[in-house]
Subunit: 380 residues, 2 copies
Amino acid sequence: MKNLNSFLKSIPHLTVDLGERSYPIIINEGFERFVELYQHLALQKRVFVVTNETVAPLYLDSLLEQLSQLNCDYNVCILPDGEAYKSFEQYQRITTELIQSHHKRNSSIVALGGGVVGDITGFAAATFQRGAQFIQIPTTLLSQVDSSVGGKTAINHPLGKNLIGAFYQPKFVYINAKTLHSLPKREFNAGMAEVIKYGMIHDSEFFEWIENHISSLHALESQALSHVILRSCDAKAKIVAEDELERNRRAILNLGHTFGHAIEAICEYKDLVHGEAVALGMVMATAFAAEHQLCDKALVERLERLLQAFQLPTRLASLRQYTDKPINAKLMIQAMLRDKKNTSERIKLILPVSLGKVKITEQFESQQITNFLCEFGLSQ
Amino acid sequence: MKNLNSFLKSIPHLTVDLGERSYPIIINEGFERFVELYQHLALQKRVFVVTNETVAPLYLDSLLEQLSQLNCDYNVCILPDGEAYKSFEQYQRITTELIQSHHKRNSSIVALGGGVVGDITGFAAATFQRGAQFIQIPTTLLSQVDSSVGGKTAINHPLGKNLIGAFYQPKFVYINAKTLHSLPKREFNAGMAEVIKYGMIHDSEFFEWIENHISSLHALESQALSHVILRSCDAKAKIVAEDELERNRRAILNLGHTFGHAIEAICEYKDLVHGEAVALGMVMATAFAAEHQLCDKALVERLERLLQAFQLPTRLASLRQYTDKPINAKLMIQAMLRDKKNTSERIKLILPVSLGKVKITEQFESQQITNFLCEFGLSQ
């Protein structure tokens, strides 16, 4: 551990503090320091890499080069790209390939990719032989600022997103910020929705910082990116450390997700990028809170302005460029009732009360939410 | 918790000590005290019961009567009976029914049945919405003395038994010893294989106690059954408490299972009952140990005598009444190489050194095991 600590001092990082399950998140430009970190953690030299067909041509070779330097024995599983493949079928496929290539529970299972790859790989690691070693290399802004912290792993069920999963912490997270240069602009902007969320729920100063650094972020300036990633992970790590298993407080991370997941479910997890659904979902939650006098109407406008600066949808009309699915109030409520956060038959909402502060509530009837959705422009 | 403690004082029980995840195992005759225990633990009144088509006609009504007394809202899922149904398909079915009946992560998911029902239900509870409340009501001797303790949940993969799973502790285990009166004799005897195992690995006095109570056990005398269940659970709880996640010591519980699982895999999890495979597996492990001068040859004979008192197979020939699958050395080694316990390409064996004591070793080559198997009567 002494070596690990001195290694960590030499590189931008953050430690997610979860007692026995604590782990470091490293931020670097390039994959060069992966070998060092892997060695410092004394992991076995058997590695199973899961990635997808979009990420593989860009970064797989660089990673495999690192593994070769380690004299690692490795296998690779390349999934199709997309949320639709965070499925039982692909999960079964990963486990089959793990078994066929004789991996054991002390093998390292590495997720190289965005949130979908991270979630399904994490779930496979959590459940393969009752738990193998899990390593994350998130390559999208969204997964770097969101899935890196919190240990949530999951696959989708045909009836709802992330309904099957486990809490399972990685051994470490390695972020190569350079991967953001190959990320499509739309994906980058979607990641910014989650970044802005941390400002909304926890850190009003950070929200202001983002408002003041829009152009540096669009230009992918190194320092700005590194700041955004570290500060987002730090916000999430603090919230998760208080409540690892999402018994209560941690649910604030779901600002915009109750509405957002419902929109995604109606779109059958196609058409929209997750962050876009969250952006619109945050506006819905904030507008709902304002309508019920929980927060100021000005907060809705300020949030919309910042989201729009990253070309994110903030009204139903702005979704129409992406999808023609019937996003109506009835389907929204049905999907929201299936939300994992609900502890009863009531819908649990995360609602802003001021910039940097939200509350969790089940006080509202489905009918009140329906009424709001209709005012927001959805059909019945 | 005060109420819980005074309740526990009024009933034979054992507490499995795992810090925050500690839970009680209650032994009773009948289901009458289920309600009390459930209430003392302050669980939500939403219950999803998983059982199978053999157990349901015998005990489901008695359990549902208890749930009605609690004013519980419940759903029931009845699986086909058999190891073949500890599958991805039935697991998916359970999760689908959980979602369709709007269960949440604070619902109680109850396993009413033997090891298969317990394992698959536990895995569903572990992974439904990243972890729901799990309650076990084991109805076979094997599941009462084995699956009640340890938090191992799993489903089978077409390529091997229990390769997919999670460590997940129940909220409580309720054992109705009367269920053993409806258990087929063959299943009871198979459970005795695991009971005898606790004597072999941990408790030589208990082994002797069993040798002296063969007829009371065959007669299903209440006191003898209660002693066997509590002492077995106690042995297992002590071993598990030392090593919850099976990093090392806990592996001793697998005496007979390395060979046994291989036999079961070759039989495609049909023909044989798990305990029968374990019985023969224990004899194989002990005979292998004796051949390599790790233990006395007399131990092999003593073990065989006790197993035979419960009509358990101790030689390949005695399996032939159940199966005609080609149990040969080559297939055995292939299956053993896939064992989860292996941490390298070598086979990890649990081998007796004296009565009540075993060692864990990877010192033997596959070839040595092959040679032994051929001497034991298997073809190449």
